[in-house]
Amino acid sequence: MVPLSYYLVLSGILFACGVTGFLIKRNIITIFMSIELMLNGVNLSFVAFAAHWHVLAGQIFVFFVMVVAAAEATVGLAIIIAVYRTRETLNVDKVNLLKL
């Protein structure tokens, strides 16, 4: 039986990786993947707690998160393709039309 804290530390590392990637990367697809990483880090802590406390709610929550993440990925990737078609770049710093 792996102790709970191991899972949580791994979850924290995964989340931190996601945040770091999100912050330092400019490629919009990489940023997207970083977001998925953060979500999965959180999912891991959900299932770990669910197993530890023997409560199913945590596991069900994970499904919700996965569904939302999938929906988000669909919309997000569609936007990314649209952006790439018009701007011919995936660098987020260059997608700044709304900036003053």
């Binding site: 912050l23 900036k99 003053l100």
Partner: protein
């Protein structure tokens, strides 16, 4: 016929005339404008005469309700007219004299570019004046009261491109506002205590109240406040200052509004409220003192004026003072009598003065006139009659009414009488001075060389020397002259007083009894006043005809006193220093620069400026850089988590 069903038409007709001329006059021919302007007041006058002929005192007073107006709880005020002997007299004076002045104006204003505008205002004035007279409650009276003020403002400032005319109009309006304030408060008091503004209802409730002998009470307050209103409208001390300036208006306006009708509205209002005043001796005394002082004060200023219309303006103020003096000693019918005769001879004086001004091409300075007798004989004749009338030479109209007032004043207090007689002397002097300076001696003015010189827009006749006015102006002069001669006879054997008796009560009868007893005194007093009038005539003749070098000498020897009178006792200057300047300065420094700019403007501007500054700083957070946003979120989240750990949430 007792109750005339067409009474309401009398005010409405001039209103219709004003409306038609006002809306259509600009594009109509002068002939059409003239027809409209004359026919409507003419019919009103005819109606007034008809009503007077069929008037029976048994049917009076009666009310004629036109429509409901305000109905609120127990309070109600309707558009309703009221006819009794008093309003009948006023009705005839206003429509009659008004109609004559309308006719005269056709000649006087013919060449003015604002011809239709002039008659629109004039008809509008008639409407409001008749509303004022015929009102059956104070509120409708107040509409007329304000309306004539408006018409007066419009007509004083008729030549509004002239700066002095525009500011004279403003002055009249503002000074009247002060008086109206008093009038309004009096109305509020009436509503509060009697729950009504109807003359009949209010007076019915006042009637049983006793005379306020002990001291000042409610009725005294109402009376004095009403008198404040009357002071504004009728140009009494301390609010008389607007009337001399009002002479900036066209001369027919001065005749109609500022001599014959509107300025007498205050007298009418006080007389109408006699039930209140009779029960408030202090208020009556105030009225008498104000009237007496004004009569004397204005008359002395009249001596030194050189502008022909200014002399008449001060004379008007002085004569109005007489009327208030009469009201103040309880002789309301004498006041109304003088109001009527004054309307005749003062209207005539102004119209004749207009004819003189017309003749010399717009000149108003008497020092540049003289010797006009031979040039304009009809004007001279009529003006001479009016001068005799105002001076109180029997048997002309002014003699009867002035003598009546002086007799009543004597019964009130000999002080009133004495000042009244002195005023009569001064009046006689300055009026004959005016007559002699204008019509006698040699012509001192330059040959009028037509175009452009005249200030009043009717100088484009191309005349070389003074010329008589056209018939359309002379006929009203002659009719008014006839009235000035014979108008006083209605007062013979107190007939006028007896006619007004149903309005003013039987006090007059008691007086008549006393009169019989002291008939000798009355004749002595009459003799004295006639003598002083003649004395004024003689003095004026000596100073301005036989020894014309004397006035200069007297003026020099009097020194500063003469200067003070010449400068109207510096009243305008004092008012400017004491009231106008602090007000203007206070408004400028405190209200404008202080409150408006520093407080209101600055608070709004500072709020906007502050918002701009703050947003200018905060704007930098919105870099548009996605990663910096994410960084902020991460930092924020870290902060929250750190806080939760430190607090030990969930433990």
């Amino acid at each position: 016929m007792t109750r005339n069903p067409y009474l309401w038409l009398i005010p409405i007709l001039p209103l219709a005339g004003a409306a038609i001329n006002g809306f259509l006059g600009k594009h109509s021919s002068k002939r059409a404008v003239t027809t409209i302007a004359l026919v409507f007041p003419g019919i009103a006058f005819a109606l007034a005469v008809w009503i007077a002929l069929t008037f029976t005192s048994s049917a009076a007073p009666y009310s004629f309700e036109l429509s409901h107006w305000i109905r609120s709880g127990n309070f109600s005020a309707d558009f309703a007219f009221y006819l009794d002997q008093l309003s009948l007299v006023m009705l005839l004076v206003v429509t009659g004299v008004g109609f004559l002045i309308h006719i005269y104006s056709v000649g006087y204003m013919w060449d003015d570019p604002g011809y239709y505008r002039f008659f629109t205002y004039l008809n509008l004035f008639m409407f409001f004046m008749l509303t004022l007279i015929l009102a059956n409650n104070y509120l409708v009276m107040f509409i007329g009261w304000e309306g004539v003020g408006l018409a007066s403002y419009l007509l004083i400032g008729f030549w509004f491109t002239k700066d002095s005319a525009a500011s004279a109009g403003k002055k009249a309006f503002i000074v009247n506002r002060i008086g109206d304030f008093g009038f309004l408060i009096a109305l509020f008091l009436l509503i509060q205590h009697f729950g009504s503004l109807d003359f009949t209802k209010v007076f019915a409730q006042v009637q049983p109240l006793g005379v306020e002998n002990g001291g000042a009470g409610l009725l005294t307050a109402i009376g004095i406040l009403l008198m404040v209103g009357a002071c504004g409208k009728s140009a009494q001390i301390p609010l008389y200052v607007w009337l001399p300036d009002a002479m900036e208006g066209p001369t027919p306006v001065s005749a109609l509004i500022h001599a014959a009708t509107m300025v007498t509205a205050g007298v009418y209002m006080v007389a109408r409220s006699h039930v209140i005043f009779e029960r408030a001796p202090i208020a009556l005394t105030v009225v008498a003192i104000i009237g007496t002082l004004t009569a004397l004060f204005a008359a002395t200023i009249g001596i030194t004026q050189t502008d022909i219309k200014k002399v008449l303006a001060y004379s008007t103020i002085s004569q109005l003072g007489y009327m208030f003096m009469a009201c103040g000693v309880g002789a309301f019918s004498a006041g109304i009598f003088h109001l009527m005769t004054h309307a005749f001879f003062k209207g005539l004086l102004f119209l004749a003065a207009g004819s003189v001004i017309h003749a010399v091409g717009g000149e108003q300075d008497m020092r540049k006139m003289g010797g006009l007798r031979s040039y304009i004989p009809w004007t001279f004749l009529t003006m001479g009659i009016a001068t005799l009338a105002i001076a109180g030479i029997p048997p002309l109209a002014g003699f009867w009414s002035k003598d009546e007032i002086l007799w009543k004043a004597y019964q009130g207090s000999w002080v009133y009488w004495l000042i009244g007689v002195i005023t009569a002397f001064i009046t006689s002097f300055y009026m004959f001075r005016l007559l002699f300076m204008t019509f006698f001696g040699d012509y001192r003015g330059a040959q009028v060389d037509s175009h452009g010189h005249a200030t009043h827009g009717h100088g484009d006749h191309g005349h070389g020397e003074p010329h008589e006015s056209p018939m359309v102006m002379l006929v009203p002069l002659i009719i008014l002259a006839v009235l000035s001669i014979f108008g006083g006879f209605v007062g013979y054997h107190n007939a006028f007083e007896h006619f007004l008796e149903p309005v003013f009560g039987t006090g007059a009868v008691a007086d008549a009894a006393g009169e019989a007893a002291s008939g000798g005194t009355e004749y002595i007093l009459m003799g004295v006043s006639v003598l002083t009038a003649l004395l004024g005539l003689v003095l004026a003749y000596v100073l301005y005809v036989s020894k014309p070098y004397l006035p200069e000498k007297i003026a020099v020897s009097l020194g500063s006193l003469y200067d003070a009178v010449l400068n109207k006792y510096y009243v305008d200057e004092i008012y400017a220093k004491v009231f106008v300047k602090p007000l203007v300065d206070g408004s400028t420094t405190i209200l404008w620069q202080g409150v408006d700019r520093k407080v209101i403007d600055d608070s709004v501007n500072n709020a906007a400026d502050g918002a701009q500054h703050v947003s200018d700083e905060v704007r930098h957070m919105q870099s548009g850089n996605l990663r910096s946003y994410a960084g902020w979120i991460a930092a924020g989240a870290a902060l929250v988590i750190a806080y939760m750990i430190w607090q030990g949430v969930g433990q």
